[in-house]
């Protein structure tokens, strides 16, 4: 799997989790089919550090059809002493497309309709609450062009925004850019390359508070630090250039004068005489 074994860490509280090949459900393998029956199953281990394993189902829908299970997320739910809960080590196993689903997907591609996914908004409470839905134009999932996807499989990318044990939103789409107008091409291989990222909210940086000591220290001299010394040329170029021109002018004039003195004496006096005659 390309990209598959690299684990990227985005920031301190985000982690991209890549799924091992055997859990990927490649080439139509259907792992753990028993777990698809219930939308959310939960297993708690009574660990002392109150870590527990949770699983929740990804469901998908083609166009306007109903949602059906498509894969399972499993993660560790860490309960902190201060009462907060965070989800870590998210893994995803995708079920392959059945033949029927392949046909529907092809129809979806021709119609450029939406391929929709949903996950429960809360991973620990029982289903029946709201679902977080995301959707994508099917054509943009199987884009075999330029930078978007050099491979010919189906490439999907989940970004799941978490707040504690709740899922706020799921972004779903392909990895690269999506060209418009969307091209129509069927995928050559009906396998999904899945990438998932878990995102928590960033803390806003504290507003800088400048104490008066710092300011006092800074302004102790009472002066702004002098700007760095510039070179002579940088300072005075505007005077030097005209000066140079004047000098050059003077030099040429001097040479011309010398020439005139030698050759043009007669002509000059003639003009003077004619002027006087007026």
């Amino acid at each position: 799997m390309y990209l598959g074994r690299t684990v990227k860490v985005f920031g301190s509280r985000e982690s991209e989790l890549l799924v091992d090949d055997d859990e990927f459900g490649l080439e139509g393998a259907k792992p753990q089919s028993t777990q698809q029956q219930t939308p959310t199953t939960r297993k708690r281990y009574s660990d002392p550090d109150s870590d527990s394993k949770v699983q929740f189902t990804l469901e998908h829908g083609f166009g306007d059809s109903h949602f059906s299970p498509a894969g399972t997320f499993s993660a560790r739910l860490k309960s902190w002493s201060h009462g907060g809960k965070t989800l870590t080590k998210l893994r995803f196993s995708r079920n392959g497309f059945s033949d029927e689903e392949k046909d529907t997907f092809k129809n979806l591609l021709t119609g450029d309709d939406f391929y929709r996914i949903r996950v429960p908004s809360s991973v620990i409470s029982p289903p029946g609450k709201e679902f977080v839905v995301a959707s994508v134009r099917a054509a943009s999932l199987s884009l075999p062009f330029l930078r978007c996807l050099p491979r010919d499989g189906l490439d999907e990318h989940f970004v799941i925004h978490m707040e504690g044990a709740n899922i706020l939103a799921a972004s779903y789409g392909s990895l690269g850019a999506c060209q418009y107008p969307r091209q129509f091409k069927l995928p050559a291989k009906w396998s999904f390359n899945s990438h998932t990222i878990l995102k928590c909210s960033e803390q806003a940086p504290r507003t800088p508070i400048f104490t008066e000591e710092i300011l006092g220290g800074e302004n102790a001299d009472g002066e702004v630090e002098p700007p760095p010394e510039r070179s002579f040329w940088a300072k005075y170029w505007m005077y030097l250039i005209p000066l140079g021109l004047v000098v050059m002018n003077a030099v040429t004039q001097a040479t011309n004068m010398a020439e005139e003195q030698t050759g043009g004496q007669a002509g000059g006096s003639q003009v003077q005489q004619s002027a006087r005659r007026r």
């Binding site: 306007d64 450029d112 939406f114 929709r116 908004s121 809360s122 709201e130 679902f131 977080v132 839905v133 995301a134 959707s135 994508v136 134009r137 943009s140 990318h157 970004v159 925004h161 707040e163 504690g164 709740n166 899922i167 706020l168 939103a169 972004s171 789409g173 392909s174 990895l175 690269g176 850019a177 999506c178 060209q179 418009y180 107008p181 969307r182 995102k199 909210s201 960033e202 803390q203 806003a204 940086p205 504290r206 507003t207 800088p208 508070i209 400048f210 008066e212 300011l215 006092g216 302004n219 702004v224 700007p227 760095p228 002027a275 006087r276």
Partner: protein
């Protein structure tokens, strides 16, 4: 402290920020300010023994004001807070105005002549209940004049002199609701009548000196009462029973209670539900039944008889004692285009003291309220003046058959504003006269020259000022070159449209919305929003622009909507229609048809989308873009934002081809236990962004992430949704989101721990600035977030651009994975904020200013450079040259940058900006109870000369130069000649 001040000064000086302050003589040159009070609820006349006749009013905008009865000007006015609604107003001791507000918990006295507050008393209140203010005229207790106030379950007697609570009586335990406080003349006993659980009438006799209950009588009425009550005399009141079909007369003479029931069907045939009208008439009451107003006289033994009936559009005043123990009241109703005002005696309805008919503008609607006052004419007969409140909230004084003055109080409740261009100046119908002859022009400029050379005498200065005020046809009704003259179209809560001229703020036209069908359910729709419907560019000479007013029949969101199309130039309604479905959201689309009508989508409560205009051409345009139309809904209570896409045409028998269904594409679910949506915001759809890139100091290029489909959402912890300071910092967190509304992607998410709303935000180009409260620092903060695009970051190479190997022209799809990064920075801000806006200019080149409506109802212009996330503590030389200001922890508030200078826009609610044609200039319109307009140039008027520019000086300089050139030429000629002759 001194260091801080000096640092601020240093920052101010070093950044060399141009200050936007005005000189004193520039006030009013391009700004105007209008003061209003709102729709009048109560009015008390003060005309006896007063040099200046005045009327004290309290309004629905929580304003108490004293108006000049002669001219309608405001003597003084106080705008109470938004949660401080006035329940009653009266005059005590002949010199204090007493107001009761906040559900009977605050009592204030204002000095009548100048409006100074004399005293204020906070009354204890345990529960919310109706409140009652009673100022007995001739009740005196030990040199003190008590005011009786009921509110919050307590009856208080408060001294009128100093506001001290004399005594209070607790009724909270019983749940007793006081309805009337009556005081028989020459008695120290006051009668307090009220209902217990709205089925038992109780009369307390209370000693007015001590507040002790002398006697108490109660009697159960089996049917139960409805709330309305009318007191007809000092010992009788009339109420309706809970079925609203029986009038019950309650007599409580000498502490005995007796009931006397009169079914309304005895009085009127086939009566439906009745309603007691509010006017207080002696020995008579007005009842509204079967769409008629009937007058019922209460006889001595509680016998009721109908004496008159009027149509229900008649407004009536309270009764007013006139000479010879007679009592009169006024009624006003419409007859065609005229108002019939009648003043009759209560005892004898056939005696008409006054009958006047007054021509009235039909765009004022019908009469809503009448207040009358009498005066003695020179011939000793009674004269009457009537203050009437019309349906459009305007206030008029009628006297001697004419409108003495009128006030457009509807403008105190502006709900939506849009701008419109004025007509193009045509050759044939030119309004432009040559206002100045050349001599006048020269004279004017000579005066200006004198002024600028400080040679002008005081008279000259006055003349200059006057000339400036009238100058350059600023109130002309045609388009000008710079786009300074425009119309602001304002929609008010009463459903009236006003067109205001930017030049002088006058009302060019006004129009009251009419329901097309005039059905009974929807006679007068209330306007919701205004949209620009048609803005002709190609046919600007012969087609008028129009606006779309979306209205609703009733306050419920599922009520059917009404569309009205109004010609902007004339103010006439072109057409209007009942659309037969509700209006939840209106979305202007970026498409126009061949007549330049903009396509609009209207979403209803059933989740259907309707396309307007309903033409086949619009439909074909829409079908082409059908796949690419998305919209979203925010369900604030559930904390869900849903994105929707178009699905198909509506199915069903009632549906037409302009109706579409949607499908849900994405949802963002905020966990209800930790987040609650308090604010959402998008960019203005018509905003212009001049440049997509920003060059930073190290010659690096940053591409702005400019998307029209970004939604800013702010959520707080549910605990922290209350007032500031109601939670500890640990309990409250503020989270802000930037969400792409096509895919539902969260592009940016930032949480502020220990912070609280309310959040006021402004979204422009690629940045959001929002204002909130930091509980840890006990200060307000302003945070800026700027979003930059990284996917185009590699287009920096010039050679790539030259060879065309860039992706700048590639279409951008929301389905691509966004590669963006954000920069943010927080600053403290010393003031709380009511609203924030941003300046907008024609091409978006001019730098931007934030317009912050502060808690003091003023507008502060803050340069966007102060809220730049790239500010650093010690900017390098290059950064300084770029204009980056050294980082400070708080944003400066420079007094000169208040664009409202010394004025206040009382009750400020919104700020609207609109670009002028001149790139440097922007129109700013602020509305609240007051209206304020000014023109701003955030980077100074770099593209035009100021009005003060002295052309005469320029001319004189040129002439002098030419003369000098000529003289020197002659002189040099001469000199040369003489040299040659030498």
């Amino acid at each position: 402290m001194a260091i801080r001040v000096s640092l601020l000064l240093l920052v101010f000086l070093s950044s060399a920020v141009v200050s936007f302050s005005l000189y004193e003589d520039q006030v009013g040159l391009m700004d105007w300010h209008q003061r209003y009070i709102g729709k009048v609820k109560h009015a008390v006349f003060h005309t006896q023994k007063a040099g200046r006749k005045r009327v004290i009013v309290s309004t629905e905008e929580n304003v108490v004001a004293s108006l000049d009865l002669r001219h309608g000007e405001i003597f003084w006015r106080h705008v109470l807070g938004t949660n401080d609604a006035i329940d009653g107003v009266d005059i005590a001791l002949g010199k204090y105005v007493i107001t009761l507000s906040s559900q009977g918990s605050t009592l204030r006295a204002w000095n009548l002549p100048d409006g100074q507050m004399v005293w204020e008393t906070s009354l204890h209140s345990a529960q919310s209940s109706k409140s009652l203010l009673s100022v007995p005229i001739n009740l005196k207790v030990d040199k003190d004049y008590p005011i009786l106030v009921f509110g919050g379950g307590y009856l208080h007697a408060v001294s009128a002199i100093d506001g001290e609570v004399l005594w209070k009586k607790d009724f909270t335990a019983e749940g007793f609701e006081v309805q009337r406080v009556l005081q028989p003349p020459e008695s120290s006993i006051i009668y307090v009548l009220g209902f217990l659980h709205s089925s038992e009438a109780v009369v307390y006799q209370i000693d007015s000196k001590t507040g002790e209950v002398v006697a108490q009588k109660s009697m159960v009425f089996p049917g139960g009462f409805s709330g309305a009550i009318s007191s007809v005399s000092s010992d009788k009141v009339v109420v309706l029973d809970s079925t609203r079909s029986i009038l019950v007369t309650i007599g409580f003479l000498d502490g005995d209670i007796n009931f006397q029931k009169t079914p309304i069907s005895d009085l009127v045939e086939n009566s439906g539900n009745a309603e007691i009208l509010s006017p207080l008439l002696s020995n008579m009451l007005a009842v509204k039944v079967n769409k008629r107003t009937i007058f019922v006289r209460v006889g001595g033994e509680g016998k009721l008889e109908v004496v008159d009936s009027l149509s229900d559009e008649t407004a009536m005043s309270d009764s007013l004692p006139v000479a010879d123990d007679q009592v009169a009241f006024a009624s006003a109703h419409h007859e065609g285009s005229k108002i019939q005002l009648m003043v009759k005696l209560v005892d004898d309805l056939d005696t008409v003291l006054l009958r006047e008919s007054i021509e009235m503008d039909q765009h004022r609607g019908h009469v809503d309220k009448v207040f009358i006052n009498n005066y003695i004419k020179t011939d000793r007969s009674n004269g009457f003046r009537a203050l009437i409140v019309m349906e459009d909230h305007s206030l008029l004084l009628l006297q001697q058959g004419a409108i003495v003055w009128s006030r457009e109080e509807g403008l105190a409740s502006v709900t939506d504003v849009t701008t419109a261009e004025l007509p193009v100046e045509k050759d044939g119908v030119s309004v432009a006269k040559v206002e100045h002859t050349l001599v006048d022009w020269l004279k004017g400029h000579m005066l200006k020259l004198k002024g600028s050379l400080l040679l002008a005498s005081p008279e000259d200065v006055a003349a200059i000022q006057e000339m400036r005020m009238k100058s350059s046809g600023r109130s002309k009704l045609t388009r000008d070159h710079n786009g300074f003259r425009k119309l602001f179209i304002a929609l008010t809560r009463a459903g009236k449209l006003f067109a205001l001229h930017t030049g002088d703020g006058r009302i060019v036209w006004s129009m009251l919305l009419n329901s097309p069908t005039k059905s009974e359910a929807c006679e007068r729709p209330s306007g919701i929003n205004l949209y620009q419907w048609q803005v002709p560019h190609h046919h600007a000479m012969d087609e008028n622009p129009s606006v779309l007013v979306v209205g609703r029949c009733g306050s419920d969101s599922s009520a059917p909507g009404v569309l009205s199309f109004v010609d902007v130039y004339t103010g006439k309604e072109i057409s209007s229609s009942d659309i037969g479905h509700s209006v939840v959201r209106v979305m202007p689309l970026p498409f126009t048809d061949s007549t330049e009508q903009r396509l609009h989508l209207i979403a209803d409560t059933e989740g259907h989308i309707h396309l307007y205009p309903k033409t086949s051409e619009a439909l074909s345009i829409f079908q082409r873009e059908f796949q690419n139309v998305y919209w979203y809904t925010v369900e604030g209570d559930d904390g869900i934002i849903r994105g929707q896409g178009m699905k198909s045409s509506c199915a069903g028998e009632t549906a037409d081809e302009y109706c579409f269904t949607t499908k849900e594409l994405w949802t963002v679910v905020f966990p209800s236990e930790s987040e609650k949506i308090i604010s959402t915001l998008t960019r203005k759809p018509n905003e212009v962004v001049h440049t997509q890139a920003k060059v930073s100091t190290d010659q690096d290029l940053l591409y702005k992430y400019v998307s029209r489909n970004l939604l800013f959402v702010a959520t707080v912890s549910p605990k922290g949704a209350g007032e500031i300071g109601s939670v500890t910092p640990e309990e409250s967190a503020l989270v802000v989101y930037l969400i792409d509304t096509i895919t539902g992607r969260i592009l940016h998410r930032l949480s502020h721990q220990g912070c609280q709303g309310p959040v006021h935000a402004v979204f422009s180009e690629n940045w959001v600035v929002y204002h909130y409260f930091n509980l840890r620092a006990h200060k307000h903060e302003v945070t800026v977030v700027e979003i930059y695009d990284q996917s185009r970051a590699e287009n920096k190479n010039v050679w790539k651009l030259v060879l065309g190997k860039h992706n700048l022209t590639a279409p951008i799809s929301s389905y691509s994975r966004p590669e963006m990064f954000t920069k943010s920075q927080s600053y403290f801000f010393a003031q709380s904020v009511k609203t924030i806006a941003v300046t907008s200019t024609a091409k978006g080149i001019t730098s931007k200013q934030l317009l912050i409506g502060t808690i003091g109802d003023q507008i502060l212009a803050l340069d966007k450079r102060f809220v730049d996330p790239r500010r650093t503590l010690n900017p390098s030389q290059a950064e300084k040259e770029e204009g980056i200001i050294p980082l400070t922890d708080s944003l400066p508030i420079i007094p000169q940058s208040y664009i409202t200078h010394s004025l206040k826009v009382e009750g400020l609610r919104g700020i609207v900006t609109a670009p002028a044609k001149l790139e440097s200039t922007t129109h700013v319109f602020a509305y609240g109870v007051d209206l304020f307009y000014t023109r701003l140039a955030p980077s100074k008027t770099y593209d035009s000369l100021t009005d003060d520019f002295s052309y005469a000086l320029l001319l004189i300089t040129i002439v002098a130069l030419v003369a000098a050139i000529y003289i020197t030429w002659v002189v040099s000629e001469k000199k040369e000649l003489s040299e040659k002759w030498r």
